[in-house]
């Protein structure tokens, strides 16, 4: 923290001197290195980063890697004396860890100095991936709202709907509870003689991100977020995990237990599954005729049940950044209305709420109209110092249920102690 504080003071000093400097000078001679995930938002940014380079006479290097590598690549850099990265994108569940470890800077003074308007963001995103303990450490970059991706062409087929009515004695509707979702998926897979659902049961991240939707959908959670007592063995959680296990065993594509989102997307793209509970950001790739056989055949609906799981990414400046002024310049630029809008139009997941009201945007990405609802009924993982370990621990539980056939109740109860250990002594939770 000492280092972080020092850098902040330094940044403030730089800040007071800033008016004398032209904006372009801050970045002179220093490149901007960013580690990013290989997702459409990264592509969207890559296509317009030239503007910033031109304006500030600098170079923006984007290192795009597989998600599972990101955290492992960031930690060495952040713990080093100077960072290899000048701007960080921080996943929502790394926030607590990065804050506690003192790896990211408090941005409030910079926001105040340059009068950056943070009210343009969805409040839920700001809470999830902006502020920690009242201080702003990040500006939301994009979110990964999740929901049901399903085959519009199949479910809207009259024959399908008739069969559905015969089976369930009601008109077709998108399932509203997980129990209903479970039934419908299993039945429709059998009816169409294909996989009812594409799932990603691989550990750690894929299975956790997916199963957390079921957990939240049933109204369960990992902890009581006031007392931080584990609630992971609650009846809701047991129900959620049971449904998840039922689906992966009885309705998912073969090998779902070893699949990740890549496989989910590919299964959908090859027209081999009807449903999926997955990321909305997959949508642009489902619409890519070079990759996909289901162009214009997919639709999006919110996760059935209570809440869906929401993740998000935010921009942050590492405490050990080489040139804080330039990093901040870049964040300001990338989150400026103009640039945010361009990124959105290129297939990104905007975090600023006004974009979703833009007719041209909705016209280009109609499925985005649903996002508002999704964000309203969603919550993120608890913000705690060891939430990356929370993901690992939950993945272990899911693994023992799915692979070793431990009864959900037993597995969840057995894990309570581990969940308890994770929050012990956490400075963020006091």
């Amino acid at each position: 923290m000492k280092l972080g504080g020092l850098t902040t003071i330094l940044a403030l000093m730089l800040g007071t001197a800033a008016p004398a400097l032209a904006a372009g000078d801050v970045c002179k001679g220093s490149d901007i290195n960013i580690l990013m995930e290989t997702v459409p938002d990264t592509d969207a940014l890559s296509s317009i980063k030239g503007e910033f380079e031109k304006a500030h006479d600098t170079k923006v290097n984007i290192e795009a890697v597989n998600y599972s590598l990101m955290h492992e690549k960031l930690v060495p850099s952040l713990t080093a004396s100077t960072s290899s990265y000048d701007v960080l994108i921080v996943d929502s569940y790394w926030v607590g860890e990065f804050k506690t470890a003192g790896w990211i800077q408090d941005l409030d003074s910079l926001i105040a100095r340059d009068k950056v308007d943070t009210s343009v963001y969805f409040p839920s995103l700001m809470a999830l991936n902006g502020k920690v303990q009242g201080k702003t450490y990040m500006l939301p970059f994009w979110h990964y709202a999740m929901g049901i991706l399903y085959r519009k062409d199949i479910v809207e087929d009259p024959a399908f709907q008739a069969a559905y009515k015969a089976e369930f004695k009601r008109d077709w509707r998108v399932p509203a509870t997980l129990e209903e979702f479970d039934e419908v998926v299993k039945w429709s897979g059998k009816y169409k003689n294909m996989s009812g659902i594409a799932m990603a049961g691989q550990r750690s991240d894929p299975v956790v991100m997916e199963a957390t939707n079921y957990l939240f959908g049933e109204g369960g959670d990992f902890y009581d977020r006031k007392t931080w007592k584990p609630t992971i063995a609650s009846p809701e959680a047991v129900k959620a995990v049971s449904i998840y296990a039922d689906l992966i065993r009885n309705a998912a594509q073969p090998g779902a237990l070893g699949a990740n989102f890549d496989d989910v997307a590919n299964t959908l793209k090859q027209g081999k599954a009807i449903f999926a509970i997955s990321y909305l950001f997959l949508y642009p790739t489902l619409q890519d005729p070079k990759d996909s056989t289901v162009v214009d055949k997919m639709m999006f609906a919110p996760v059935p049940g209570k809440d869906s799981f929401l993740g998000a990414w935010g921009w942050a400046i590492p405490s050990n950044a080489k040139n804080t002024g330039c990093s901040w310049e870049f964040i300001k630029w990338v989150e400026s209305k103009d640039v945010a809008y361009k990124r959105a139009m290129a297939g990104g997941q905007p975090s600023q709420s006004w974009i979703y009201k833009d007719p041209a945007f909705i016209k280009k990405w109609p499925v985005m109209a649903q996002v508002g609802t999704a964000l309203d009924h969603s919550k993120g993982l608890p913000i705690m110092s060891r939430s990356t370990q929370l993901v690992e621990t939950f993945a272990e539980v899911m693994g023992s249920v799915l692979a070793d056939n431990v009864a959900p109740k037993d597995a969840l109860e057995a894990s309570e102690g581990k969940f308890g250990a994770l929050v012990k002594g956490d400075p963020l939770l006091k």
């Binding site: 599972s68 955290h71 492992e72 930690v75 713990t79 860890e97 506690t100 470890a101 996989s195 049961g201 691989q202 550990r203 750690s204 594509q253 073969p254 090998g255 779902a256 237990l257 070893g258 699949a259 496989d263 590919n266 299964t267 090859q270 081999k272 110092s385 060891r386 990356t388 370990q389 690992e392 272990e396 693994g399 023992s400 799915l402 692979a403 070793d404 002594g425």
Partner: protein, 296 residues
């Protein structure tokens, strides 16, 4: 005369001294790059050190107790199974192929050898990706091929019952070639006279294999097996790329467990403890290997 003797004495000494100069660079480098980090690692294994919180207190055997109580048993069992299956299968395949390739009058054996040795060149990462592509349950060619034989599609890496076996298959594909090379070189350097003598004594192929080749090759075989076993115990790349230890913990090895503790849980103390236990096992095996090598 006395003076000459002393001078000459020094000359003799100089030769002795030079050998240390020859050994020194390697000794210094290995001390710096291996011994030093190793000692540091031992030190870390007795500390409470979670990267997020920074260095904590002295932990005593706490880290060891935690990992032994936690997953260490399960990952050891997986490592053991994996090592045993891989090494056994690879040995029999490689030894069989080496024997076939060692028939002096078989046309095309050089051609076979070239092909069979290619996996040595490939990075396990690429191999893993290649097989993930082919074993992909819904999109891979393997399920399509077995579909032609009337077998329903399998989950392979995602199926708790098949995952370990599929990993073993990939490992066999990858590592057999190295074993083949060692055994083939061993067969090539084996004296042919005893084999010829046995042929004249009326031994058939099986007899020759059992009573001549096997005993003559025993030292080479033992060393090859042990080297491969030690390598298999620490295997990491394939697991990382193929399954990340899943499904569940079906394919989680000690190395991967240590990695996960260190770089996912950021618990350096526990990770160091696990890796240190692994090290002890490997050192024990290495010493055994050396004894075998000395005996032969």
């Amino acid at each position: 005369m006395t003076v000459t003797t002393t001078l000459n004495h020094q000359a003799g000494k100089r030769r002795n001294w030079a050998q240390y100069v020859f050994l020194a660079p390697t000794a210094i480098v290995l001390t710096l790059v291996v011994a030093a980090p190793l000692l540091y690692s031992v030190y870390l294994s007795f500390q409470t050190y979670i990267i997020t919180y920074g260095m904590g207190d002295f932990a005593g055997f706490g880290n060891y107790q935690s990992v032994l109580a936690d997953d260490f048993g399960s990952v050891s069992w997986v490592t053991l199974k994996l090592t045993f299956l891989c090494v056994t299968i690879e040995f029999f395949v490689a030894f069989g192929l080496a024997l076939l390739l060692n028939q002096p009058h078989l046309p095309g054996r050089q051609f076979y050898l070239i092909i069979l040795l290619t996996p040595i060149l490939m990075t396990p990462v690429a191999i893993a990706l290649m097989f993930r592509l082919m074993f992909n349950p819904s999109l891979g060619i393997v399920n399509w091929l077995i579909g032609g034989l009337g077998i329903p599609p399998q989950g392979w890496f995602g199926d708790p019952h098949l995952a370990l076996g599929t990993v073993v298959f990939v490992d066999v594909w990858t590592e057999t070639s190295m074993m083949l090379l060692m055994l083939y070189a061993g067969l090539k350097s084996m004296p042919m006279e005893p084999v010829e003598a046995a042929r004249i004594d009326g031994a058939n192929r099986f007899h020759i294999l059992r009573y001549v080749v096997w005993p003559l090759m025993r030292p080479v075989i033992m060393v090859t097996l042990l080297i491969r076993m030690i390598a298999a115990l620490k295997s990491y790349d394939l697991i990382y790329m193929l399954t990340q230890g899943g499904p569940g913990k079906e394919t989680e090895t000690i190395s991967f467990y240590a990695y996960r503790l260190g770089f996912r849980f950021l618990d350096i103390g526990q990770a160091a403890a696990v890796s240190f236990i692994l090290l002890i096992v490997v050192i024990a095996l290495t010493l055994f290997l050396l004894r075998v090598m000395r005996e032969n």
